[in-house]
């Protein structure tokens, strides 16, 4: 009985043959071809010569394992804190660095905040968890932080232009002005690969307020109020961008301001 397949085995089948991954029938067929066909034998030989003592080679990579650092890292993953909070410790440090850089007059172009999840959940993260990241980062600001920023309209216009360009959005002083608040500065960040703008205001009564805009391409959603990190948050999604207003401002007042901004960015 001839078990040989009609067509000669390809490199993929020959590789599987070498790796012992073929079924008995497939194996017999390849064997038949090998017995009768010089070309198949030559290809098998070539693929076999691509074999290597891989295990020994890759074991070299385990010779330089930084055990003390990795074990220290593992031990330092806090058992008591929720993981979500823990994850942003790096961001908080980075946030402090941004503030320091700003005080030094350095324009910080970009801060990559670590993205929190994977796969399908990552998509949810883009539409939801950026609010958590922003809320935690925003918590670093105090009235004193912003009071130290000189009121320089020309500088604000430049910052807004630079940030707006990255979000493909016109960010101007009139479009962003909020009654009773002083616009103090604008920064550009990145969350999960999406440009993220943060416009900071100082409210003489309630302290810092931030308007954040992320170009995440998510579908429109209605204005919604929530509370995060001990702050009030109003958020919505419009024309491919997520908007979020955050501060200690009372929810009703914050929502009114959000509606003002939303109307200006609705077309």
């Amino acid at each position: 009985m001839n078990d040989k397949s009609e067509h000669p085995p390809g490199d993929v089948e020959l590789t599987a043959f070498l790796d012992g991954e073929l079924s008995g029938e497939q194996r017999t067929s390849v064997q038949e071809w090998l017995n009768e066909d010089d070309d198949v034998r030559a290809r098998l030989s070539r693929l076999a010569s691509g074999g290597r003592p891989f295990r020994e080679a890759f074991d070299l990579l385990t010779e330089g394992v930084p055990y003390s650092r990795l074990e220290g890292m593992l031990a330092s993953i806090d058992r008591s804190k929720p993981v979500a909070a823990r994850r942003w410790q790096v961001s908080l440090l980075a946030g402090a660095a941004v503030i320091a850089a700003f005080v030094l007059g350095v324009v910080v172009d970009r801060l990559v905040l670590p993205a929190p999840t994977t796969g399908i959940e990552q998509r949810e993260a883009v539409s939801e968890n950026w609010r958590q990241a922003v809320a935690e980062y925003f918590g670093l600001n105090t009235a004193d932080t912003l009071a130290a920023v000189p009121d320089d309209d020309a500088a604000r216009v430049r910052e807004l232009k630079a940030v707006g360009d990255r979000l493909n959005l016109s960010l101007t002083m009139p479009r962003l002005a909020l009654s009773g608040l002083t616009l103090k500065r604008a920064d550009l960040f990145s969350f999960d690969g999406h440009p993220l703008a943060e416009v900071l205001y100082l409210d003489p009564q309630d302290g810092p307020v931030a308007l954040c805009i992320i170009a995440n391409g998510a579908p429109d959603t209605a204005i919604t109020t929530e509370r995060r990190e001990d702050r009030n948050v109003v958020f919505w999604q419009s024309r491919g961008r997520g908007f979020l207003l955050i501060g200690r401002t009372a929810p009703g007042k914050l929502r009114q301001r959000a509606e003002t901004i939303a109307a200006r960015f609705s077309s």
Partner: protein, 176 residues
Amino acid sequence: MTDSGPEQLRSELRSHLARLWRYALVLSTNRDVAQDLVQATCVRALERAHQFQPGTRVDRWLFAILHSIWLNELRARRVRTGQGVIDADLLPSGDGDRAETNILARQVLSEVLTLPEAQRETVLLVYVEGLSYREAAELLEIPVGTVMSRLAAARATLGRLARPDGSAVAAGKRRQ
């Protein structure tokens, strides 16, 4: 996992650190990124301890987490910052008692590291970690045929690097 799961998982993580490190290095070819990747894997695993299914292998589950974090979160950063350049200090020094063995192993490693990332990863999982084609396909969430074609491509490339007479470094033989 049971209530004692997280502590048991910590212990498992400790015992697999070297293999997680190796996988992270094979993907990132950068020690700093590899460390971030292992750390993110540990955090994620502890966070999802409840998702671990008893009766399945912890190491495979950890590999799948690491692979997913790399693909979704860290890979872009690595490509952006390093353009995939392999760090010079990735290969250990060639001295020591095992110098002779190391010459071959180092050469093989440097050859394998020139393969595309997907092939390097598949070679590691199948030829080093000993996963079957099917297991590798499940872990990487790709068809078995893709695993096969990656390995065939890796073998074809490495086969071309071997000497014409086939004596180079084929299957554990030392280069003459």
